[in-house]
Symmetry: C2
Subunit: 280 residues, 2 copies
């Protein structure tokens, strides 16, 4: 198989490593605007070669868009234009509705599979990539009825080889759920980081006095602004709704704490404890 | 040494294990209202014996208050009343100002050391205790000038044997810092858990679609309501200030996302990325 990965960051690079491990006869070419990232990806053997986009796409059996979602939205039409008949394009964007709307207008819609691997870390770039990032992580495939059976089957088969359980849903449902279980977490963490950095001018105070709980809740504040700004833009309506609910919950806690109403405050926390059932 | 630990939960139990490991000739007695916790603590050998409070305190060289902060506030005076001359009382509460104010009124104030080990997990109870919980964790000692040199030295010596770095500060400063680097994290996590549980009736959606980022930010929502409600009450002014700042940051993100102002949103996130300097 000839695999072309556009975007050699954490996700694209990890996918390249994983596919090369699963299918040793795969030739992986990368497309990467950032020259330093391209060289790093080559030296880390995330890909076998780096090529210009047109050359890489026109020679591929499978093309993966693993760039920020604004770049996916911008590249989707030109890459589909270049895509050889019989080849498949899959994207790995964290938002799906706007991307699917763009794909829906293209005559080669059937060759496109809209996917979102629920995998990532707070780090980014080719040096953050590792072969096992995707293993055992859910791959969500959206609007699968719009993909041609052969293209869908190729992506499903690869997911199986990479030990990624599959889930299917409509693009609009995906974006709504992700606003709550992912995008909101990132904003809560960025905001927490800013709040503490604004207050604590002396970094030593944070380091010495913060327990592992703070590190855990603020970990995502290390995430890439270039990746996340366009996710929030594309999913702004759902994110706004999720943020409203979250702020309302915080204001409820604030009012109960101010009123020293420990009974109601304990009841709210006990309800939140229910997350144990899900996270274990 | 005769050590008495009042409260055989995560912190008290772990302290018992660590001291027994560091000083094999220590006799550790526990005081515990919850009969099941008491039996569990004995069977896990967190303590050598369980006794009624009066008997345990009057026979101890060192008494540790490792109960929720409302119980510390309630027990401080009666335990100091019982404390033999030459013995030391230390508390492990997550708030210090109100507790120190109570101690300040007692004639045996010098025998009291106000301390806060920056250690814990999202679990509670004797079965959550483990010997290494406190190792390498900061112990904050507050208002040390109010403790008698011998009592302070005993606590410092034990911290050294348990490999706990020491920091000293005023009780009021402690509570202000902790509101930002700990108490706020817990509220943000409880509120995040509630927001997602309210929206996602189908737990499978959360489990499948949430990445490790969500687990990380929501981990503290598993924490004990009985422990946290009184912490928020005692530190309500600082917590309220911290929550206001946090909500303001969230509203700022919400406005920028609604306005699709990616430049300013990226700038905010880049500022939050500064947390890398501190957390590594």
């Amino acid at each position: 198989m000839k695999l072309c990965i556009i975007g050699l960051g954490l996700l694209g690079g990890s996918f390249g490593l994983a596919v090369k491990a699963a299918r040793s006869n795969t030739q992986v070419t990368g497309v990467e605007n950032d020259l330093q990232h391209a060289q790093k990806a080559l030296s880390l053997k995330l890909v076998d070669a780096v090529m210009p986009l047109e050359e890489a796409v026109t020679n591929a059996d499978l093309v993966v868009l693993a760039v920020p979602v604004n770049a996916i939205a911008a590249l989707l039409q030109p890459v589909l234009d270049l895509l050889p008949s019989g080849a498949t394009l899959v994207d790995f964007g964290s938002t799906k509705e706007q991307i699917c709307q763009i794909a829906d207008k293209h005559p080669k819609r059937g060759q496109f599979v809209a996917a979102h691997p629920i995998a990532g870390t707070e780090y980014s770039g080719p040096e953050a990539a590792f072969e096992s990032l995707l293993a055992q992580k859910t791959m969500i495939i959206c609007d699968k009825e719009k993909s041609a059976p052969a293209s869908l089957a190729l992506v499903e088969q690869l997911c199986s080889e990479l030990h990624m359980p599959l889930r299917y849903m409509a693009a609009a449902d995906h974006d709504l759920h992700l606003a709550y279980v992912s995008h909101l977490s990132h904003i809560s963490s960025f905001a927490l980081g800013l709040t503490v950095l604004d207050k604590e001018q002396d970094a030593k105070n944070i380091f010495d006095m913060a327990g592992s709980g703070f590190s855990s809740t603020v970990r995502l504040a290390k995430s890439s602004p270039q990746m996340w700004a366009p996710i929030f833009t594309q999913n702004r309506q759902n994110v706004s709704e999720a943020l409203d609910s979250y702020i309302t919950q915080l204001q409820q806690f604030k009012a109960l704490i101010a009123a020293q109403d420990e009974e109601k405050s304990r009841a709210l926390m006990a309800k939140a404890n229910d997350i144990r059932r899900i996270l274990g």
